[in-house]
């Protein structure tokens, strides 16, 4: 089976996955106690106004009917409007998702090269002081909760030494360099969080290969150690590394709500939390589907990458 066929098949399966995800999410939102009318009106709710709001929003109709209606719209690319503030979901999600992607891209631009280089170096100088320090430092940063890392960075880089702003209020009309500047602290926080996973996987994958006969052969040829690793070991270790990188990229997009809160960064995470709290189903659904699609696409990319990097998979018998 060629790569294209695989991509087509996986995309088809991905669409089915998204459908299942949307049903599960709809069910989960339905299971939550209280509905949008009660949550919006909060302490000020009276039975009368709750009833009127339910009727106005169509929440008094049975759940399957509402789901099918939503699905009908979604299949035509219309994700509906937020029940709470009547703004279109696309209009709300668009800028937020752009912000999230920007932050994820910035964090990835730091973390992916750093962790791969660190992983290669750690494998190269295995059991050395450098290896130990790199391991301890990255494991410490991954073991600390991300909001704690964020606060530490704010304390040193923005309160004691006012280098960066403590809140990242980005806006659409901001020039690129200024945007990078205000997003830097959250990006560094995320970098610290994801670096250990990728670095340790790179190191482990390379070390696992170092015992193989072909590496021994390369060494016996008299190749320098860095060349053995960079030219001979790394290409064969790429598949697991690509997988773990893809997994971490997905995390950078979907799992950053704590960092968003600490740095007041207007990303999708906060939008999702707010919408769940208020049972704003169309927005919850759209956010979750975007997240699910991110996972599906990144996993697919990882698999395609693994196939491309491995001739044996490219030409199956």
């Amino acid at each position: 089976m060629g790569v294209l066929q695989l991509v087509a098949k996986r995309l088809g399966l991905g669409a089915v996955t998204l459908l299942v995800v949307s049903i599960i999410i709809f069910g989960a939102v339905e299971l939550l106690p209280g509905d949008l009318a009660q949550q919006i009106l909060g302490q000020a709710a009276t039975p009368e106004t709750v009833k009127a709001m339910r009727e106005e929003l169509g929440l008094d109709r049975p759940a399957p009917v509402r789901y099918v209606e939503w699905l009908g719209g979604a299949l035509q690319g219309d994700f509906g409007t937020s029940l709470a503030n009547k703004r279109s979901v696309a209009e709300q999600l668009g800028p937020r998702f752009t912000n999230t992607l920007f932050l994820a891209a910035l964090a990835a631009a730091f973390s992916v090269p750093i962790s791969i280089v660190l992983g290669v170096l750690a494998a190269l100088y295995r059991e050395s002081v450098f290896d130990r320090i790199a391991n301890v430092a990255t494991l410490t940063s991954i073991s600390s909760p991300e909001f704690f890392l964020g606060y530490i960075l704010i304390l040193f880089l923005s309160v004691q030494n006012p280098i960066f702003p403590s809140i990242s209020s980005v806006s659409a009309d901001m020039p690129f360099d200024e945007r990078v500047y205000v997003t830097l602290l959250p990006a560094i926080t995320l970098t610290l969080v994801v670096i250990a996973h990728m670095m340790r996987m790179t190191r482990a994958a390379i070390i696992a290969l170092l015992a193989s006969p072909y590496i021994e052969m390369a060494r016996l040829k008299g190749e320098p150690r860095w060349k053995v690793i960079a030219v001979h070991a790394l290409p064969n270790a790429l598949a697991p590394i690509i997988n773990v990188v893809a997994l971490n990229l997905a995390y950078l997009i979907t799992g950053v709500v704590l960092v968003e809160i600490v740095f007041v960064y207007p990303g999708v995470g906060q939008l999702l939390v707010d919408s769940v709290t208020k049972r704003d189903f169309p927005v919850v659904q759209a956010c979750c589907l975007v997240f699910a699609a991110t996972y599906i696409l990144l996993n697919l990319t990882a698999d395609v990458g693994a196939i491309l990097s491995n001739p044996r998979l490219r030409h199956p018998k």
Partner: protein, 517 residues
Amino acid sequence: MNTITRHSTTRRRFLQTGAAGAAALTLPMRFAHGAKKGGVMRMGKAHGQTVDSLDPGTHENGFTVAFTFGYNGYLTEIAQDGSLAGQLAERWEASADAATWIFQLRKGATFHDGRDITAEDVVASFNHHRREDSTSAAKPIVAPITDIKADGKHTVIFTLEAGNADFPFVPTDYHLPIMPSKDGKPDWQSGIGAGAYRIRNFDPGVRADLDRYADHWDSGRGHFDAIQMITIVDPAARTNAVITGEVDAIDRVDLKTVHLLKRRKGLTVHSVAGNQHYTFPMRTNIAPFDDNNVRMALKYAINREELVEKILQGFGVAGNDHPIGPGQRFFAKDLEQRTYDPDKAKHYLKQAGLDSLSVDLSVADAAFAGAVDAGVLFGESAKAAGIELNIVREPNDGYWSNVWNKKPFCACYWGGRVVEDQMFSTAYASGAAWNDTAWEHEKFNKLLVEARTELDEAKRREMYTEMQQILRDEGGALIPMFASYVFAASDKLAVPAQMSSDAALDGERWMERWSFA
């Protein structure tokens, strides 16, 4: 600095003359003359959600309230000294029974699109909350209005189901801005208002940007060129933002670290005693709370001073089991302050025929900051009286729909009301939707209706005092404390010495009242 509401004579005079049919003339409020103009004011707010909308019927949090006061105009407003002042309404008068009110609109006031504000806009704006299928949270507030009609371009006539001498206070409610009418319906979607600032950008749950509206009718308000209001929900992030100068002021200072914030140079922590109070409502129609002796036992089993000290860090005062704040006009100051007394609590338990009592108390920090801790402290102090409080920690999510007004004994907060009648009618009157203690008291309800139309101030005071006493000694709400509004502002701002106490940040009217120093 503590500012306490004092009702000026304006309102008193008005009450005497207004209902007699004479016109009560109020001049537009004058704010600090010579306040410096200009600058961009950046405010960090603890509230704001992505689900916020411009529909005034849904406004409920500190972000939307400040926002609506910034871009909208109101018929009347509460001045910094707690008195009533005219805004878009220039003057108003009542029929002899205070059941018909005629409001004269200010001529020359305009919406941000330049249109004149007319009686028709006022009618449409109020009908937004009144109509049958209204989803507005203000529906109960405007329910006593049976008819509203325009008489010419600048006169509006309200007809009430019964007399209410305090009616001109109703339009100060933040839910009731005057919006431009379009085919008889208010156009809230466009965000065009009549406030001192106009909306440039509103990103719900993130930020709002406003510019000064140059053609506003009152040049005495709105001193900043522009406003940036940013939602910063996380207390640590909010504190950092004001410390690092990312914003000029924040609300809801984290009381746990306020002593550290006070040390910071260039910042001032302000505290304004207000009417907001924290309560533990007991549903008086559910056993064992249907027995007043049990309620009294619990009221004596709570250590109020300890709660003020540990939960409010001293930023507040002990409550006396009624919802009227010490700064309010008819506050019963001679009513003895109830204190912690386990022996009395035991005495009341015995009266109820009980040796000991074990009840569940549902709490969550959604009710008020520190509600869970307050519940635990309450549980400890109640032990000495032979009362076992089982603290049930409820989820914050859905607290107002699933716990409050449902569970027999829980935690709650009230922002308070400037007018005594409003507070009582909202939360203690028979049949009120928000009567969270399910309280029915014949004498209380009778006094409530009588006091509303009573024009003799001394008699009125007597009635409201008696009502406070009834609530204190028989009511279902345990009200242990009144919390001050605590916020921090940069010294670059000129914060008025006297601030409104009806809401945080100068009654949330900081946009139009403050300026840079």
